[in-house]
């Protein structure tokens, strides 16, 4: 308490003590809030169409998409761990892997949408839920890719180090969250019910 007491000094000292905790808590609260958004749409699907499924569902593509996204979560994790150990080259490679896998996922969603438009368009009740849920998730994947791109670029420019990589940690947590939401959406649309 007997240290310097100018407002700026107190300000920066306080900032250093709470900032990491505040960042983490803020992100977790955001993800908790997002969980409510996804659960609203997932429960809507069960309310309006139960566990009904259309006859043509591209199960193979959906499984492939799931694997792509799960793999990208592993590479994202490896990127974060690499930065925590100051391993720039591995960080670089794993971030790119994650971004490419995310982009492939979006391409897959595009293919899926294209098929869905003929098999169960949006003006059928399953189609409504399908386009809504997959669209919402794809939007999150897109924002995740953009955020990963920003962090990858800043990491490449040398903005982060082992003791200073909150943005990497944050964006990777977000990416895991997006992955987790897919793990809930995939069975909701593809696995429950059916003939």
């Amino acid at each position: 308490m007997a240290m310097t007491t100018t407002p700026e000094a107190v300000h920066s000292r306080a900032e250093a003590t709470y900032r990491p905790a505040a960042n983490r808590l803020g992100l977790w609260l955001f993800l908790a809030s997002e969980t409510f958004l996804f659960s609203a749409f997932i429960s809507s699907r069960f309310v309006v169409s139960g566990t009904d499924q259309p006859e043509h569902l591209n199960q193979g593509l959906a499984l492939l998409l799931t694997l792509l996204l799960l793999w990208s979560s592993i590479s994202a994790f490896r990127a974060e761990a690499a930065m925590a150990h100051d391993n720039r080259r591995l960080f670089h490679r794993e971030m790119l892997t994650t971004i490419v896998l995310g982009a492939l996922f979006l391409v897959g969603v595009g293919v899926e949408f294209n098929e869905a438009l003929t098999d169960f368009p949006a003006n059928t009740i399953y189609g409504s839920s399908f386009f809504m849920l997959i669209g919402l998730h794809a939007f999150h994947v897109l924002t995740g890719i953009l955020a990963l791109g920003v962090v990858w670029n800043l990491g490449r420019l040398g903005h982060y180090g082992s003791d200073n990589h909150w943005p990497v940690e944050g964006v990777v947590k977000y990416w895991h969250f997006v992955d987790l939401m897919w793990v809930a959406i995939y069975p909701t649309l593809y696995l429950f019910g059916g003939s």
């Binding site: 905790a21 808590l25 749409f41 309006v48 009740i125 809504m132 903005h159």
Partner: protein
Amino acid sequence: MRQLLRAVIFGILGYLIGATLTWLVRGGSLGDEVCVVFGYVVGLVGWLFGIGMGDTWVREWFGLPARESDVTGWKRYLGFSTDHKVIGVQYLATFIVVLLLGGVAAMIIRFELAQAGEGILNADRYNQVMSMHGILMVAVAVAAILGSFGNYLVPIMIGADDMAFPRLNAVTFWLIPPVAIGLLAAPTLGSFDAGWTAYPPLSVVNNGGQILFVLAVTTFGLSSILGGLNVITTIVTMRAPGMTWGRLPIFVWAAFAASMISLLTTQFFAASLVLIAMDRVAGTVFFDGGAGGDPLLYQHLFWFYSHPAVYVMVLPGFGLVLETITHMSRKPLFAYKAVVVSLLTIAGLSVIVWAHHMFTSGMAEYLHGPFMFATEMISVPTGVIFLSAMATLWRGKLWMKTPLFFAMIWIFQFLMGGVTGIFLADVVTDVSLHDSYFVVAHFHYTIMGGMIFAFLTGIFFWFPKITGRMINDRLGIIFALWLTIGFQLTFLPQFWLGTNGMNRRIADYPDQLEGANLFSSISAFFLGGSFLLLIYILLSAARRGPKAGDNPWNASTLEWQVSSPPPEHNFSGQPTVVGHPYGYGTADSRHAEFAGMTAVGLAEPEQAGTGEGGDNE
């Protein structure tokens, strides 16, 4: 100013680019709803970029240093300021204006309802004005206290120098102007007439203004969510040394509970509105019964947020009122721990009561009992809060200034609202009262009585802190009485009207109800007039009120231990909290100490309570 101008230009450009590109890709007309949707979204991004995100976050995303705004003085209030006190005042001013706009709509409604039959408005126009009044006032109720006092007071009360995420805080505020513009621009597309609840199927098939409603209110929801996130993070991580959870001022607890609700449940409102938008523009059939959809789905999603939302409205109000009562009756807050438990219990229960709005909707009957029971459970913690307010006043040394006047009137108002609510929570009576003016009177007692009166309590109590000047107390009390009498005369007859068969949301009513309606309308104009006095009181006090000094109420919490208005980083040293915030009447009770400053806390409790404390008047 430069930022604001840039934001407006980027916003307009964004709208034009978004709408035009959509039009080029898709054909049709530029006024189509799809074009409006994309125009609004791109316009919103442009607005946020222009107002300050472009200077700060976006530059940092590309590895460039942020350009901080270096504006000083009153111009800070028109720009991207990250100071929580500036943002609090921005919220305060914005929502007083929105409150007045909503009030004008209310006056038009009462003018139309003064006589049976078609008056100045036809039935469609009436529904549009009523919907506008509803959504503007709901926006005020949700964000006015949490946005203004939540931002202004929470960091100072817990001994922090700002919110946890100052830039996010600024963004949260600057999301509000597009909401206002979106809502007020709706008449250009034919306005919206589905009420603030926007039930389908009407909201899927009505005029194009509904899409602006959907976009604006979704943006508002985003602002609420981010604001709640910021408040919670601030409270959890930035409390001063010694500020344990048991020493938090009660308003901080109330803001915490309300923020939990808005952080989590607002997503359901956003979801329900997004589904409306999809049904309107993307051809989905969620609410189209013919294609297998279910309009009741909307009501479930909507009320899952919108019932808890009433606690987002009133919980911070509870906090402001209890703060004022404990400071101005010079007694420790009665049953502090029970109040905290009650606030959190209300927040928890609020998410399992939503379907009491749907007793007559045709939902499954077996749901009636549980929802009735859960709803009535809420009266228990609410009763605890009433008990605390009454018992704190009991045998206190009441300092009858305007804030305490408002706080005591609030007790009566919310009691009226609460007691009449029991009839609406009960299935048997609700079946008859649903959608009648009884409901209108009830929620005006709870929301206007419970939230606006608490808001006014807060304004009159913290005005000296925010502006450094005192309010004319005599005028304040005249205003309080004027408003309260006008309020009773306006809304008491509406209980009677409701039980006698007057429906809400309809421009016309049976002729025999004309007398009471005319009485209610005249009283409403009397009530509305009182707000002119409020504006006069606030403006004249801000310009030439007597200097307030640091602590005119001789209050104990941290915000009163710094200058009025507080300095840039709130405290000149690091405050250390050493005791309970409301140790009035207890020997040697101290709330906080400051490094390098004289110890403060309860300077001289005896001095206050006589009405002579402070240097006002």
